[in-house]
Subunit: 375 residues, 3 copies
C-alpha cells in the first residue's frame, strides 16, 4: 500500500489526445468550409485536438457555450474558440487589464456546443478497422468481408451481420441475430438469440440484450412458474447503449427501442417496453415491464418508472424521480412521488422546513387554547 495517498501520477491529459495532436490536424478554413460558421482570424491556422478553455493550448480548438465560463475565455490559450454571436461581441471589448487572446481565432456560430461536437468528430474519426475475423473467434454465420470480429468472440448460426460491423473481443452473439450495417459492439457484449439491431448501433461492454423478462405465474403453493419469454428485442437505427445495461426480450410480443435512442450505463429496460425515437435515458434508470415512453423524452439518472405506464412525447423526467402514473402532457416532472417539477421544487422546500411547520402548529395550538380559555 502506498505510504502517501495522493492523486495518480499519470498526467491528466489523455494519451488519446496527445496521440491525435501528432496527426495532421485541420485548418480552420477547412473546418468552416465543411461545417459553416463565420471565421474571424487566420484561416490557415491548424488545430489538432479539442480542449476545454482552461486546458487548451495553441494547438487546440475550444468552445464557449455556457456564459458561466465567459471568464475563462480571456485567459484561455486556445488556438481557436467556437462561440455564439453574443459572446463574441462581449469579448471584443478588451481592455489593458484584459488583453484579448491575441492569437486566438474565432468561429462564430449559433450553437457552439453542437458545432464543437462536429469539429471533435472530424478530429477524432471512428477507427475504421480492416475487416477480418480473429483466428480465435468462433463464427457460424456468413459475414461480409468488411466485418471485423475480435479475439474470442462467438457468433451463432443464422445471423445477418451488415457491412462494416465491428464485433469486439469476447462478445457472444446468439443465433438468428440481425445487426445492421456499421454497428459496433464493444468487448464482452451479449446478444441473445433472435435480437434485431438496426444500422449504426453502438453497444458498450458488459451490456446484455435479449435476456428473459421477469415473468412468472404463481401456483397454489406460492411457487413461481416461469412464463417462456418468446418475444425478442427490436432496435432501430443509430441507437447507442452504454456499459452494463440490460434490455430484456418481450414476454409474448417484442421489446422495442426506436431510432436514435441513447441509453447510458447500468440501465434496466424490462420486457415489452417501447422507447420512442430520440429519447435519451441516463445512467441507473429502471423501466419496468410494458411501459411505453414517447419520442424525444429525457429520463434523468436513477429515475424509476413502474410498469404498464404510457409516457407521452417530449417529457423530461428529473434525476431520481419515481414515476408511478402515466404522463399525458409534455413537460418536466420530478419527485418522490413525482409531480410537475415546479410543484416538486416547492414541496421539497417545504419538506426541509417541515420541522418548523410543526413548531408553528404547536404554537398556534397553545395560543388558540389561550384564547378559548379566556372566554
Amino acid at each position: 500500500m502506498s505510504s502517501n495517498p495522493s492523486k495518480p501520477s499519470k498526467p491528466s491529459q489523455s494519451s488519446n489526445a496527445s496521440k491525435n495532436a501528432e496527426t495532421q490536424g485541420l485548418r480552420l478554413d477547412e473546418i468552416v468550409a465543411q461545417l459553416g460558421g463565420e471565421l474571424v482570424g487566420d484561416g490557415a491556422k491548424r488545430v489538432y485536438q479539442v480542449a476545454t478553455l482552461e486546458g487548451a493550448g495553441p494547438e487546440h480548438i475550444s468552445f464557449l457555450s455556457n456564459p458561466k465560463y465567459q471568464k475563462h475565455l480571456k485567459s484561455s490559450r486556445a488556438g481557436a474558440v467556437i462561440l455564439a454571436p453574443d459572446s463574441a461581441a462581449e469579448t471584443s471589448s478588451s481592455s489593458v487589464e484584459n488583453p484579448p487572446v491575441s492569437t486566438s481565432s474565432r468561429i462564430i456560430v449559433r450553437n457552439p456546443y453542437l458545432y464543437f461536437t462536429r469539429v471533435s468528430q472530424l478530429l477524432n474519426p471512428n477507427r475504421s478497422l480492416q475487416g477480418g475475423v480473429h483466428a480465435s473467434a468462433v463464427v457460424e454465420s456468413n459475414l461480409p468481408k468488411t466485418v471485423s470480429v475480435g479475439a474470442g468472440a462467438v457468433i451463432g448460426p443464422d445471423c445477418k451481420i451488415g457491412e462494416n460491423c465491428q464485433i469486439g473481443a469476447g462478445c457472444v452473439v446468439g443465433s438468428g441475430v440481425t445487426l445492421g450495417a456499421g454497428s459496433v459492439l464493444h468487448a464482452n457484449v451479449t446478444l441473445y438469440d433472435g435480437c434485431f439491431l438496426g444500422a449504426r448501433n453502438l453497444v458498450h461492454s458488459g451490456t446484455v440484450i435479449g435476456s428473459d423478462g421477469f415473468g412468472y405465474a404463481r401456483d397454489a403453493d406460492a411457487r413461481w412458474v416461469k412464463i417462456p419469454q418468446i418475444g425478442c428485442v427490436v432496435m432501430g437505427d443509430d441507437v447507442e447503449v452504454g456499459a452494463n445495461t440490460s434490455i430484456d426480450r418481450g414476454a409474448i410480443e417484442d421489446t422495442i427501442i426506436e431510432d436514435g435512442v441513447k441509453i447510458d450505463n447500468q440501465v434496466q429496460i424490462a420486457h415489452n417496453c417501447r422507447i420512442g425515437a430520440l429519447t435519451a435515458i441516463a445512467g441507473c434508470v429502471g423501466i419496468a415491464g410494458s411501459t411505453h415512453i414517447g419520442k424525444r423524452c429525457m429520463i434523468g439518472g436513477a429515475a424509476m418508472i413502474i410498469g404498464h405506464l404510457e409516457i407521452c412525447d417530449d417529457v423530461i423526467i428529473s434525476a431520481a424521480t419515481f414515476v408511478t402514473k402515466s404522463i399525458t402532457k409534455p413537460g418536466e416532472y420530478a419527485g418522490v412521488p413525482f409531480e410537475p417539477r415546479r410543484d416538486w421544487l416547492k414541496t421539497t422546500a417545504r419538506l426541509r422546513h417541515l420541522d418548523n411547520l410543526a413548531a408553528t402548529i404547536r404554537d398556534l395550538e397553545t395560543r388558540l387554547a389561550g384564547l378559548e380559555n379566556k372566554k
Copy 2:
C-alpha cells in the same frame, strides 16, 4: 444517421414465435388431458403458439386474466382462449352486434394466467442441447456427457457439474464450483471459486456470483484494509437470476439464496444476505450486507434495503421503497422512508399538498393574531 427517425422496420411478431408456429403445435384435447380444465369447443383444433388477445390469430391460444381486457375478448381472432368461469359466463351472452368469436374454443379454468403459463411451457420447451464441449472451451473438471459447454467457456478444476447442465459461451466457472443437474448458465456468466448452485438454476448473461463482499477495516490513517471474504455463495434449487446481477460471497460465513428464489436484472445482493425460499426480487434492487429476508416475500423494483435487517416471511415491499428497519409483521410496505403501504399512500397525498398546508397555516396565524389583537 437515418433521415426519418421512426420505429424499427422489423415486424413486431418475433421470429421465435413464427418459427414455433411451423412446428406440430398441440391439439386442445391434448392440452386439457395434460393440464386439466374444461374444454368448450373443438378438441381437435391445433394451436401453435401463445399470443395476446389483440395479437392472436386462429393459430394462437390466448388468455383472459385481468377483467380490464374483457373488451378485447370479443374482437380477438384467437383460435382458443383460456379464461375463468366468470369471464366465460359473461361472454356467452353474445348479440347480433357482438357475435361470439365464432371459431374460438375456450378452456375454462380457475387460474387462467397460471394455466396459460403451463401451455406456453408446453409450446415452447427449453432447447435440449446435445451434450458436448466446444473445441474452444477450456475445461479442467470431469463433466457428464450430457453437459454442454459453449465456445470459449472456461471451467476450472474440482467442479461438480450435474447432468444436463448447459454452460453458455464465454462463461467463466472458477474452481471447486458445484452446479446442480439441469442448470443453465447463459453466455458470459461468471461464477467465482467455491460457489454452490443447486439443481435447475437459470442464470442470465453478465451476472456475477461469488465476488468479494465490500468489507474493510479502517486503519489509523483512514486507509481501508481489506477483510478476506472467505465465505461462499450457496444457492438452492430452481433459482433464477437475471442479467447483470451481482451476488457477493460471504465475509466469513456464506451468502445464501434458498430454493425457488427469483431475482431480476441489475440486482445487488451483498455479502452474508440470506434470501428465503420462493422470494421474488425485481430489477435494480439493492440489499446490503447481512440482511435476512424471509420466505415468499416480493421486493419491488429499485427497492433498497439496508444491512443487518431481518425481514419476516410474506412481506411485500413496493417499488422504490427504502427499508431502514427490520420488519416483523407480514404485509405491504412502501415509501421513503418506508412505512405500511396504506400509511405511505396517505403521506404522499399530503406531501403533494404540503404547499397548501403551509398556506393554511399562514392564514391561521393571521386570523389568530387578529383575534388576539382585538382583546
Copy 3:
C-alpha cells in the same frame, strides 16, 4: 421443481474455510509477534481460520468489536478471541453460571476489528499464481514473466503490465492500457483502450472501465450527435472495484480515481468525475458527470449524486440519499432531497406524522372559526 422448498442442503461453512483449516495455521505467539497486542493465554496454541463468535470452534480465532455481541463471548467455543481492553475486563468476572471460555486465549488490542482483519489476511493470503499465459489467451503486448493470464483473455497492443499482475479468464484489455504491479483483474473484466490503473488494483468480474461517457449535443431536429469521448480513466494505487460496476472515460479530460478508493458492485461513475483518495463508495451508487468528490468520503448504498458538484473531504452520505447541491462542510448528510443527517431524521419523523399534522390543522381551523363566529 423440488417438492419441498427449503434452504440449500450444503453445509453453511464454506469450502474455503474448511480447506484452509487443513493448513498449518498460525501460533498465537507468532500472530502477536507480527501484529502486536497483548496475549493472555497459551502462545503455542494454533488457530487455522477466522470465524464469528457463534460459528467458531477450538481451531478458530474470533473477535469482539461491537459490544452488542458481548453476550456471544461467554458461549463461544473459539480457540482465541481478539478483543478490546474494556471487553476483556468485563469478561474476566465469570461466575459459576457463566464459566469463562475455559480454553479460550485472548489477544487484547485497541482496535479488534482492524486486528482481526490483519489476522485474517495472514491466514488467507492471496493466491500467488505462477506467472504464465494460458494457451488460449491472445496477448499482443510484452508481459513480465511473473504475470499470469487466464484462458481466453485478450490483451491488446502497447500495454504496460506490471510484475505479478493477474488477468483473469475472459478479460479484455484494450490497447495502450497500463496496469500497475500486483494488480488483479478477476474474470470477464473489460478495460478500454488507454486506461491507466496503478499498482495493486483489484477489479471484480463484469466491471467495465473506460466506456464512453454519455455525451451528446442535440441538433435542430432533436437528434443526439455523439461527442467523441477522448479522455481516459486514470486510477491510482490500491483501488478496488466491485462486480458489474461501470467507470466511464472522460469527455475531453480524464475521469480520475485516486489512491486507495474502494468501490462496490453495480456502481456508475460517469465521465470526468474525480473521486478523492481513500473514499469508499457502496453498492448501487450513481455519480453523474463532472462531479468531484473529496478524500476520505463515505457514500452509502444507492446514493445518487447529480453532475457538476463539488463534495468536500470527509463527507458521509447516507444510503439512498439524493445529493443535488455541492457540499462544502464535512459531516453527515441524508435524505431525498438531502440535508444534514440530523435534520433529515427530524424531517422523516415528521413525514410519518404528516397525516396527523393535517388533522391538527383542520381542528385548529374549526376551533378558530368557532372563536371568530362568537364575536
